[in-house]
Point group: C2
Chain length 323, copies 2
């Protein structure tokens, strides 16, 4: 395999559009069907490799009257959008440890239009994540383990977790910067650690970055420079808090001619501007910088944004715990 350069591209690189899944955390998964259909069409046109529709949350744990359908991703609901999906775009869903009943809710792959199940786990629940991966792999799905909040994991725990995942049926493992607190130097160090395990066990490595410090895109492409191949992005950064790596910046960077930036720009002007005008609030703002710098969960910042607080200096002192 030829080494990727800035002018060439690696065909191993895959782009995952996580707009519905991470964006669903902003609007409780209440997307219009028309929006979802157009997003699916956009992903086909833009050459995106995977579209993540949402979570496979358990209806015994979550009240289905309080969320839009993409919190649960029923087979029928996905098929209403994609039919049999006879396309090159693969379909992904996310399954959270402790919030998903994979044995019950994930049907055999040959009956499903879903291609990949991504299991999201904190580092202290990796064995539960691997149980879920094994169930899904046995049913025929591609699987990943997405280790969240990696900035709070220590090196020896991470090494042990990577070994456990290495020995599992998971096809890939994700570096997830949930708090948007990691700097490129740290991303490169973590990428190398993940990639060493991946090389040993024949897995791929992915990255899911958040934009709290305006680093989601930079961290994603720095991970690419290290050899990370599965890249999460969302249109216009739509996602929890400060949002994600913007798909439009990522496709502008990747040199594989199959990726078409034009399709994403068209979707932004036709659909995302409406979403902003409807009052949905997401994306980089000063309170996220503060939780990012402090390496904290963004919930405190999200709360400030909801209250439209602009007393940034006080917010900083409060979140540091000094007031």
């Amino acid at each position: 395999m030829a080494k990727r350069t800035l002018l060439s591209f690696s065909p191993q690189i895959k782009v995952i559009d996580a707009t519905l899944r991470d964006g669903g955390l902003v609007n409780n998964f209440y997307f219009q069907d028309d929006f979802v259909k157009k997003l699916y069409q956009m992903n086909l046109q833009a050459g995106v490799d995977y579209m993540e529709f949402g979570y496979k949350a358990s209806k015994e744990i979550f009240d289905k009257t309080k969320f839009g359908k993409w919190k649960f991703c029923d087979e029928k609901d996905i098929r209403d959008i994609v039919g049999d999906n006879n396309t090159d775009l693969k379909i992904a869903v996310m399954a959270d440890v402790g919030r998903t009943d994979v044995e019950k809710d994930i049907i055999p792959k040959d009956e499903s239009v879903i291609d990949m199940v991504r299991v999201a786990s904190y580092i202290n629940t990796i064995p539960a994540a691997i149980d879920m991966v094994e169930d899904c792999a046995k049913k025929g799905y591609e699987t990943t383990v997405n280790i969240m909040a990696i900035s709070h994991a220590n090196d020896s725990d991470l090494e042990e977790a990577l070994e456990l995942i290495g020995n599992s049926s998971a096809d890939g493992v994700y570096l997830v910067d949930s708090y948007g607190s990691l700097y490129p130097e740290q991303i490169r160090r973590l990428s190398d650690k993940y990639l060493n395990m991946a090389a040993k066990y024949g897995k791929f490595v992915g990255i899911h970055a958040h934009n709290n410090q305006q680093l989601a895109f930079a961290n994603t492409i720095d991970a690419v420079a290290c050899g990370v191949n599965y890249l999460d992005a969302t249109v216009n950064s739509l996602g929890r808090g400060a949002g994600n790596c913007p798909l439009e910046l990522l496709l502008g960077f990747l040199k594989n001619p199959k990726y078409k930036l034009h399709a994403v720009l068209k979707f932004i002007e036709e659909e995302m501007l409406k979403l902003k005008e409807s009052g949905l609030v997401w994306g980089y703002d000063i309170p996220y910088l503060i939780t990012g710098v402090l390496d904290r969960h963004p919930s405190g910042a999200i709360d400030c944004i909801k209250k439209e607080r602009k007393d940034y200096a006080n917010i900083y002192l409060e979140l540091m715990g000094l007031e």
Copy 2:
């Protein structure tokens, strides 16, 4: 000297607040005196190392009735803000090749409150830049050459330019990503090239980044990781087009305890929000992504933003020259 790590810091690192100078390109240098005084106070409190007040533009070339005073940076105007500036904060001004008459307009250092003159030049006017540097150095100022639009320079021209600057009296040389088109991999490659020259001739290296692809902060701190020490930033990114490396993100990253993020956050809530509300428009937006990806001057994007155009897909085709 101990090597800088993510937890330690290098005392060689200097932060330059370019808010007035690059921000002046947004409002034709019409800042209220009260704003400038508060910005000066903020820089003192925040531990910033240099404050750039504006340009030393020639009044024979530019009509002084059409610009605010910081286009010209008269000695008296700076002294009205800083008095004799008996502080640790140094004062910088910028002198553009072909737009500044340094012989006439730059007085001897011992009569001036200015500490540093930064000469901005395209790569094809380096000899003129060096003439200006020599004049200013002889008068007693710290000097730099800021090579603009470096993404359009080829390697052999750049090497020659760096040699010329290396042999001049300039104290430092700047890597300036005028079009916001450079990716971190390119910044690291260019930083190494600059730093090799710098080591040979005993100069320092600086970086001035733009945020067209949300990479201004990332590129700045990746340059730091390479050994670049002079870092330009502006409060809240205020600057031409997509703006600059945000000072608040940069101070959050740097570990030198003399830098105080709190002071910048206070200034943002008290002064920058008013500036936004007054109708001044700057900062990342989709048209800048497009000129950034295409490695073009941002003027086409600035024009689209002024006209409030949102037909991003058409803008993309137009700026590519296909329509």
